[in-house]
């Protein structure tokens, strides 16, 4: 039973790869689609002819060994990097730079050390020219939402790593973008905090009508939080398969990590990745 789910998703992925702009793309509502994107840095080929769709309202993980171009792909989607060739569409429109429809959560948090939590969370709105009282009201709301009520006037260095990333997340939520781009957001926090984060992320995906693009190098994390997992492989960089874990979503946080399908998918991903790890 579980086998079939995995097998089916692979067939689907093969079909999408063969014909990325085919009827499949029209049938599924894609918030973001990446079309034949290549990116070279000097002589380094970070991405080569990569195509991938991100269905609206779902969480898609980009999973792969380090150096395979996950961050590069995410920054191209964010409009922070220009692809050498190919195009990215967000909400049907070609990306030419950063836009209000996307918000970024950084691996190293990228908080302003001289600014309070409140100002950091409101910073995206500040850059958009929103009035102070208005943006601080919105920021307050998101600070509570990520569980940092009472820390509005603390400075980043007074917070733990996990709390800092909550600030980064609140800042991204505050600008109310359709697409959230997260680059290994939990890699700098400890394991316990990380598990809590993963559970919170599932709630967030369920409650907010947003599309999440989530970079991770952890197989378990990807399988745990994702609606769709794109496995990226280096040399040459490509999407090797797309997996849609579906059977265990409603089993509850506690049972999920013991679910046989969950474990099978983790195993099969490891099997395809292990040859790329020295």
């Amino acid at each position: 039973m579980q086998e079939t789910t995995v097998a089916m998703s692979r067939t689907e992925s093969a079909r999408r790869d063969a014909d990325p702009s085919g009827p499949q793309g029209a049938a599924v509502d894609n918030a973001v689609s990446v079309r034949c994107v290549s990116k070279t840095f000097g002589s380094v080929e970070a991405l080569k002819n990569l195509s991938l769709d991100f269905p609206r309202g779902e969480l898609t993980s980009l999973l792969g060994p380090s150096g395979c171009g996950k961050t590069t792909l995410l920054k191209i989607i964010a409009g922070l990097l220009e692809p050498s060739s190919g195009r990215v569409e967000v909400g049907g429109e070609a990306v030419t730079g950063p836009g209000p429809d996307r918000a970024f959560v950084f691996q190293d948090f990228a908080l302003l050390p001289w600014a309070s939590v409140l100002r950091n969370v409101a910073f995206g709105l500040e850059l958009r020219g929103m009035a102070k009282s208005e943006r601080e009201a919105i920021a307050e709301k998101h600070i509570c939402e990520v569980g940092l009520a009472g820390f509005e006037h603390s400075y980043p260095h007074q917070l733990s790593g996990g709390m800092r990333q909550r600030v980064g997340l609140a800042r991204a939520l505050a600008v109310d973008a359709d697409v959230l781009l997260m680059d290994e957001p939990f890699s700098a926090v400890d394991e316990q905090t990380r598990r809590k984060f993963q559970e919170d992320l599932l709630d967030l995906v369920r409650n907010e009508r947003k599309t999440f693009i989530f970079v991770t190098h952890s197989i378990e994390e990807a399988v745990y939080v994702s609606d769709q997992i794109a496995i990226l492989l280096p040399r040459p960089s490509r999407v090797s398969e797309i997996i849609r874990p579906s059977g265990f979503r409603d089993k509850g946080a506690d049972n999920l990590r013991r679910d046989p399908e969950y474990l099978d998918i983790v195993d099969s991903i490891w099997a395809s990745l292990r040859s790329y790890v020295e």
Partner: protein, 252 residues
Amino acid sequence: MNRSLLLKLLSAAIVFGAWEIAGRVPVSYAFPTFLDSMTALFAMSIDGTLLRAYGETLRPLVAGIAISALLGIVIGLWIGLSEFCDWLFSPIFIVMQAAPLAALIPLLVMAYGIGLTSKVFVVCIMAMPVIVLNTASAVRNTPSSLKEMGRSFLGSDFDIVTRIILPSASPIIFSGLRLGISAGFIGAILAELKITPTGVGDIITYSRSIADYPSMYAAIFSIILLAVLFLNLLERLEGQLFAGNNRGYVSD
């Protein structure tokens, strides 16, 4: 806060105590005691000599420091942001920082005479290079993830410079300002000793020529005191402007 004040007072007491003892030994007949110097300082303050002297000295000093700080930060920012400006301007300031000032003074006097202009130039030559070079390197080393964050949240180039790059560079800019201003004080006195004796430089030259060493040291002491007060003021300003900066950084 109180503790640091206490430490400052303590270190001052030790320095002044050592000065008093060295004056009493005496290490040299030309080295007055601390108390004699303070008496001379008091006398000069009362009769207005000091006030008049600072009226003279502060003009090139304040003008030079203001020019160096404003221009230095602007040029440093520019150098830090653009590779072309780096190529164009950096060598000038590196040479300026390395150049022996005493050798340049005759050239300055030849070009600009013995008036205020030359003295302002001396202060600027002393103060500006370190302000420019510090600002440039701090701007260049702004964490790229902060700049990317600014861009991804739709900040304009101007926003990114004023709200991210400058605040992030501010600790090093301020340390450049501190060094530059100290050098500027040295420059101001040097100008008065080497170009024309005016203001505090005049008190130093004159009291030495009549062997009134307490007055000479009093004048030197007063300029150091002024520099220290000024630097403390600057530190206070920095603390007010960027509260989170001097309490550590976000980095693990």
